[in-house]
């Protein structure tokens, strides 16, 4: 991440090509993050454009940063949420994409778990995630996908670290509650199948 910082500093001193490097590097991750909030690509593009133009205009007031990624995510999140708010769209957050071939993604093709079992697990997870609040889903995404630490998540989402933890516990609770029911459901169907 040292390189990140060098480029960031060059950009802050007015090097536009450095901004381009940052743009190229973070285009896909930011688009992906934005896609979790909204499936409207145009909206995400607008937010990205606003973000980078704003970065350029304010470059003299932008400070050094520990993490360029966290800075960009935080700024992008703010721009995007404002746009969503203006359009009066709900803050929603999706964690799992449907229609993915999970066995391929996870490299589980010929291993312990069958495709059917994988699909079952995915359904369970998707259902459990759906029961969560958007903020809980976002935390799950940031922790498991972006692999951020709780301190970083708190900073990004403008929460205290303790309330970030609380949100996670609640999320896990939701998962647990939901899962126990589906497990029971699964068990009972299995039992009923056996009877036949």
């Amino acid at each position: 991440m040292r390189e990140d910082k060098v480029i960031w500093d060059a950009f802050r001193y007015g090097d536009e090509s450095s901004l381009k490097v940052i743009f190229d590097q973070y285009y896909t991750p930011l688009f992906n993050y934005g896609h979790k909030f909204s499936q409207d690509d145009h909206l995400i593009e607008d937010a990205l454009q606003d973000l980078f133009v704003k970065l350029w205009k304010n470059r003299n007031n932008i400070k050094e940063t520990e993490s360029v990624k966290n800075y960009l995510y935080k700024s992008f999140r703010r721009v995007l949420l404002r746009k969503l708010d203006v359009q009066q769209r709900k803050y929603n957050f999706t964690v799992l994409e449907q229609g993915l071939d999970w066995s391929q993604e996870l490299g589980y093709d010929q291993t312990l778990i069958s495709r059917e079992r994988l699909e079952n697990i995915r359904k369970n997870l998707a259902l459990a995630l759906e029961k969560m609040s958007p903020r809980q889903r976002e935390i799950i995404h940031l922790r498991y996908y972006e692999e951020m630490e709780y301190e970083e998540i708190a900073e990004l989402m403008q929460l205290s670290v303790s309330s970030t933890y609380k949100l996670v516990y609640k999320a896990i609770d939701t998962l647990r509650n939901h899962l126990s029911r589906t497990d029971l459901l699964l068990l009972s169907t299995l039992l009923s199948l056996k009877k036949i």
Binding site: Y27, D41, F52
Partner: protein, 350 residues
């Protein structure tokens, strides 16, 4: 290291379910960034809790399912978006160069110009300190309100000047040339008369001292007429032929500065202030005196060809908005012949 610390504080995993594994930080770290040591540890746990193998596996799949999701690939074009950003930045920079920076420079210039101007004004004010003066042309009146709200009405061809810095601890002072009617504001607190409450008029070589009063002062041809309508007024002459005279309302005096002599004035104060209403009260005026007024206040040059007319008198009030009114009346009443050549009037008996 991981193995040892984890082993030392080894959890009781007997109650673990998919969700507990899913949210266990050690487990997450192992699944996402594991190495041989972490693998060894969790293999050990799996052997210790064989019944947990299924939920462990499920938790691992959950973590990986979220983690390994391929990034969303938008149909949008990245380079097209960058050109948009780039052109917006360019437009912004252009405006900065073209408008904003010149404006900033202009603002800087305007600032220094304003500063210079301000300095200039301050210097001028400083230089003009102490003196403010007003004067009138022939045949014109002007009303001046002084800083203490006293009002002075200036007759034609007259002027006053006064010190601009009227402080409450100093007497108010005015210098007069020509004729003016004063309505002086009374500023003294009852029974606490102070030197600073007085109002001084310097005219000719006299000093008039008043409090709140109304009076007329006329200073023409080395003669000073002082007519008091209200209040008290003290005439003071210092130096050669010094005297002090205190006037009551209704008093009118005339002072001859060549002879340094103060005499009663025949004309009454009310008559002497008639000009402030654009009238001329003829009571007590000789024709010569009226002609003097026409010269002093209205700017004519008059030659009286028939000297015996000079001491003639008449009574009544005539409008005096302009000199023509006065001349018209005089012409009719005294049956005069008036030849006018510009400002010069030659008057004779018809």
């Amino acid at each position: 290291m991981y193995l040892i610390t984890a082993m030392e504080q080894q959890q009781d995993y007997s109650q673990y379910t998919t969700t507990t594994f899913f949210s266990d930080e050690q487990f997450i770290r192992h699944v996402l960034n594991g190495d041989e040591t972490t693998a060894a540890y969790w293999d050990l746990i799996a052997k210790q809790y064989p019944e947990k193998m299924a939920v462990m596996e499920e938790a691992r799949v959950w973590i990986l399912m979220i983690n390994k999701q391929p990034a969303y690939q938008p149909a949008a074009d990245r380079s097209a978006l960058w050109s948009k950003i780039n052109s917006e930045i360019s437009a912004y920079e252009y405006n900065q160069q073209r408008y904003y920076r010149p404006l900033k420079i202009a603002a800087k210039w305007a600032g220094s110009i304003a500063a210079t101007l301000l300095l200039f004004i301050i210097i001028r004010e400083w230089a003009a300190q102490g003196e403010r003066s007003y004067s009138t042309d022939f045949g014109k009146h002007e009303q001046i309100v002084l800083p203490d709200e006293s009002v002075i009405t200036l007759n034609g061809n007259s002027g006053i000047s006064y010190s601009r810095t009227w402080r409450s601890d100093k007497p108010r002072e005015i210098w007069l040339q020509g004729e003016a009617f004063f309505e002086v504001k009374h500023v003294a607190i009852r029974n606490r008369l102070q030197q600073s409450d007085s109002f001084h008029v310097h005219v000719s070589d006299l000093e008039l001292t008043v409090l709140g009063t109304r009076f007329n002062v006329k200073n023409r041809r080395n003669m000073t007429e002082i007519s008091l309508l209200e209040g008290r007024l003290r005439i003071e002459k210092t130096g050669k032929g010094a005297f002090v005279k205190t006037l009551k309302p209704g008093d009118a005096f005339i002072y001859d500065s060549t002879k340094q002599q103060l005499k009663d004035l025949e004309r009454k104060p009310q008559v002497n202030k008639a000009w402030t209403n654009n009238e001329m009260d003829l009571d007590g005026y000789t024709l010569q005196e009226i002609l003097n007024v026409l010269e002093d206040t209205y700017g004519y040059e008059i030659t009286l060809k028939t000297p015996q007319l000079a001491q003639r008198r008449l009574t009544g009030t005539i409008p005096a908005t302009n000199a023509e009114d006065i001349l018209f009346v005089l012409k009719k009443v005294f049956n005069l012949k008036i030849d006018q050549k510009g400002n010069h009037l030659i008057i004779s008996q018809n």
